[in-house]
């Protein structure tokens, strides 16, 4: 009897509380709140998702500390219109499921102003719809997939890396001009990264021009069978659309079975220092490797941008190793600060998008940076480089092309000199 009375009381109490709660909290009114999420008078909060752990983290885990160091440098010099930039980096381990979680956390809980430099084709493609429905600016995605260049479908998403199709076309054009008559093959990641690269290569060489095609997945580190197939097909030139860990794996595995073709590697997986660290004593295998890049070479001491970035790295990044990933991270930071400056002191999400779409940004990149109302692709070209004597050096002109069937042209505009303190001005 007593128990029933007690239970009845608890039920009644719950219902009263519930009624009160529902009465007090209504749904938020439809219009946005007056304040811009992530922006205050003193702070701008932005976020990103990066593979800090896992098989794809080799090299990439260095990008976000570099960007953070650059933001620290800007903050130390007064920030942007007096606002300091806070950069929240979340680890997704290159796992699309984790990206879903961390991006939701960034947007719904940390209430970031924008997401910048989200890394990975399979990882970022899953969060596009979420970012779109929450109207979050999604800037400078760290991947060359064409998915980020869809202004009608995803008006707030902008790419940064040159499209993989652009890369494939430039590599294929070089192979056509310099390795005519040799068998060209392709090894790529089994997602848009690999598929888009292959598309670019086939644009120039034609489908028959590629003798063998193989794919790999990051979850399976045994690519012996794929290398074996390429060897049996008699490949003389192999185009790699691989992340750094797998570039090293491919070159190492191939050498072990006595297969040493001319390697032509996508920018994404071609940083010499990262590969050398992976291969250890076998780094001599990288001699003669051809690759693409569009940022100043990390080892090129004479480049003023490198000198500037190195200074910032030593001061704000606890002297962490300086390689292509560091340069990349700082270049992204530089571009974001340029965009913030262009958006004006009265900072809103729409204002930022408009500023980016206006384009015309010039930075350390060697290739044209394409941002407009119809073009969200980012960098549109690359330059060939070769590993000689343990140093990765550029040669020849910078090439630029489009994602379609346009030709591969030379791009002769050189990057400007960096500002004195490394911080852009309007």
């Amino acid at each position: 009897m007593q128990r029933i009375a007690r239970r009845g009381l608890t039920i009644a109490a719950c219902l009263t509380l519930l009624g009160g709660a529902v009465a007090c909290t209504g749904d938020e009114s439809g219009g946005g709140t007056a304040a811009v999420p992530g922006v205050s008078d003193t702070e701008i909060v932005v976020g990103t998702h990066m593979p800090l752990t896992g098989p794809a983290s080799a090299g990439y885990s260095k990008i976000s500390p570099a960007t953070k160091a650059y933001f620290d440098h800007v903050n130390a010099n007064g920030g942007v219109y007096g606002r300091k930039i806070t950069y929240k980096v979340m680890d997704d381990g290159y796992n699309p499921a984790n990206t879903q979680q961390v991006v939701r956390q960034l947007v719904l809980q940390d209430k970031v102003f924008a997401v910048i430099n989200g890394l990975g084709t399979p990882t970022h493609s899953g969060v596009l719809d979420f970012l779109k429905s929450n109207r979050v600016p999604d800037l400078f995605v760290a991947s060359g997939s064409r998915t980020w260049d869809q202004p009608e479908k995803y008006p707030h998403t902008f790419g940064f890396n040159p499209d993989y199709t652009v890369e494939g076309k430039i590599l294929a054009q070089y192979a056509k001009d310099n390795f005519a008559g040799k068998k060209v093959c392709f090894l790529g990641q089994d997602d848009d990264f690999g598929r888009d690269g292959l598309l670019g290569v086939e644009q120039i060489l034609g489908a028959e021009g590629v003798v063998a095609r193989q794919t790999y997945v990051t979850s399976n580190t045994n690519i012996g069978p794929q290398i074996n197939t390429l060897k049996t097909a008699g490949c003389e030139v192999v185009v790699l659309a691989t992340v750094p860990g797998f570039t090293a794996l491919a070159i190492g595995t191939a050498a072990r079975v006595g297969f040493q073709p001319q390697w032509m590697v996508s920018n994404v997986g071609a940083d010499y220092q990262t590969l050398a660290a992976q291969l250890g004593d076998a780094k001599g295998l990288l001699e003669g490797m051809l690759a693409l890049n569009y940022m100043p070479m990390a080892t090129d001491e004479s480049d003023p941008w490198i000198a500037q970035f190195k200074k910032i790295n030593d001061q704000y990044n606890a002297g962490a190793g300086f390689d292509g990933n560091t340069v990349y991270g700082m270049a992204v930071g530089y571009l974001f600060v340029q965009a913030l400056l262009a958006a004006g002191e009265d900072l809103t999400r729409e204002g930022l998008i408009e500023a980016v779409e206006k384009g015309g940004f010039q930075g350390p990149g060697l290739a044209p940076l394409r941002f407009s109302a119809d073009d969200h692709s980012g960098y549109g070209g690359q330059r060939m480089n070769k590993v000689e004597g343990g140093v990765q050096k550029y040669f020849g002109p910078t090439y630029e092309t489009d994602e379609g069937d346009g030709p591969v042209n030379e791009y002769t505009v050189a990057p400007p000199a960096p500002p004195a303190n490394g911080i852009p001005t309007l």
Partner: protein, 381 residues
Amino acid sequence: MSVIGEPGQRVEQTTPASAPAAAAPAKPHLPWGGSTLLRHLALVALAAVVLLGLTYWLEPFRNYQLATVAAYLCATAGLTVLTGLNGQLSLGHGALMAAGAYTVALTQQMLTDRGATGVGVLVVSLGCGVLVSLLAGAVIGVAAARLRGPYLAGVTLAVALVVPALAITFDGTLGGEQGLSFYVDPPPAALGPYFPYERWQAWLALAGALLVMLLLANLVRSRFGRSLRAVRDDEVAARLAGIHVARTQVLAFVVSAACAGLGGGLLAVLAQSVSPGAFSMTLSLFLLMAIVVGGLGSLAGAVWGALLLVILPELTHLITEQFTLAPATAQRLDGNLPLALFGGTLVVVMIVAPGGIQRVLVRLARRIDPRRRTAPGPEER
């Protein structure tokens, strides 16, 4: 014979007080007349009302987390019934969740291509997901019916690995490592134009979880539930008593697979995408950890387990954020410190409180209220 054991192992006995509970004669002054089903329905209705209020009070991200907890609860509840009450150790429930999830993804894609809209679309998709995982569970259950202990564990572990393999082999349909994205309708117009999406997600997931809890609570208290426990405790005696052991085991597997399929389908709806990485072997192992730490064999333990799966990583992240360090060191700690804390907590909890959280709570309740008659063992709710 129990799950993995030496011949002379001490086996948990159910207290006799629990047995007459379900078969007690109707007490006329109780509104539900002693019927288990009505009692459970009343509790579910109450829980639904309370949770509804909760979704209005929480902010969007917390609602999303609540929805995730509810989705995990479907899977942990099924798994705790299978492993705790029936003694079958399954290391592959992540794969069954994936079966449900991928089915939901493909069905949603197909239906939205045909232009179907409305809540019914989701119901159909989730239903298909449950059906497919049910079938998968039946196949695995039949194949593994003769296996015991670590041998069953080995097979289920192999099943857990097959999911990414299948997704990659059939990457045309299943999208490979990148996975599939699909469209989910926004909340129905009847709820108003400004109804937060996360609250709708929480409602969907909680509906699924409450359904699963109702079903399993009734199952556990029924004759089938007793057969499950009988088979776990002493297979030979159960067979002598007329219980069809293989059929019971397969059915247990099927039921838990269906629950896992619903959980996986709900997770897919929450993320609006599926990928092999979301249903890796790690998930299967985490599910197991969740039910054991929550309290093996008890549905309340499944609730604690599901909460743990969502809250513990966040708690550990909070603790990690308290330390400010140089970027490179912070980054090394960032991914790893939460895992270290999680692992350490597991080890400590299992040594200190092997019965799980539920057992600790029951013991505390007993201490606080000595008038309570000897509570049923942790296998009961």
